[in-house]
Symmetry: C2
Subunit: 94 residues, 2 copies
DNA sequence: CAGCATCCACGAAGATACTG
DNA sequence: CAGTATCTTCGTGGATGCTG
């Protein structure tokens, strides 16, 4: 829960499931997240070896974030939590 | 994530899966949780109609907490997150 | 037993500005 | 583009004491 309980981490992971994403790409995909939190959370996921950070030495720099092989285990967690969230939202709507 | 992201809620739910529990029973089962947090989190789960609170008017009072029919949906979430947590712990141990 | 009230500490998160 | 630095705010959770 300490690793996943944050407000954004599972959400970030959910976007990485369908392929690598760049920093600002993630920022756009996740409305409301601050540069700072995206940076910190990506770093935490990286430290847990669930996300890999690849730097392409172009100009300007291009940085890609992708789930590692181990990080793919997050897929199931994301799916189940997401399903639960949707059910809850739907239930409370009606 | 707002509903489940707390430190204890999923853990509390995990203990309720195998049957109703009393307040102090949960306290004993969950080392480290404070009275306050147990109370607050149970209330939150109750407000979400995932947990039902039953008061038996005995002396002293007996209060039971149980998952509702809807609350049983937490079972899958608990299982998957728990599995992930165990895997992570095991991986980092070796 | 099963709590609530109060006060306090700390980390998570937000805002803003700046940089290679 | 992809961040870091700094400051501030806010929510979560802990400690303690009290009650029907």
């Amino acid at each position: 829960m300490h690793l996943l309980g944050g407000r954004w981490r599972l959400l970030i992971a959910s976007y990485l499931i369908d392929g690598p994403k760049r920093f600002n790409e993630l920022r756009r995909l996740i409305p409301g997240i601050s540069q700072r939190m995206l940076s910190l959370d990506l770093r935490a996921l990286e430290d847990a070896r669930l996300v890999a950070r690849t730097v392409f030495p172009t100009v300007p720099v291009k940085v890609e974030y992708a789930l590692t092989e181990e990080g793919r285990r997050l897929g199931k967690v994301v799916a189940v939590v997401q399903e639960f969230g949707l059910w809850l939202k739907d239930r409370d709507a009606s």
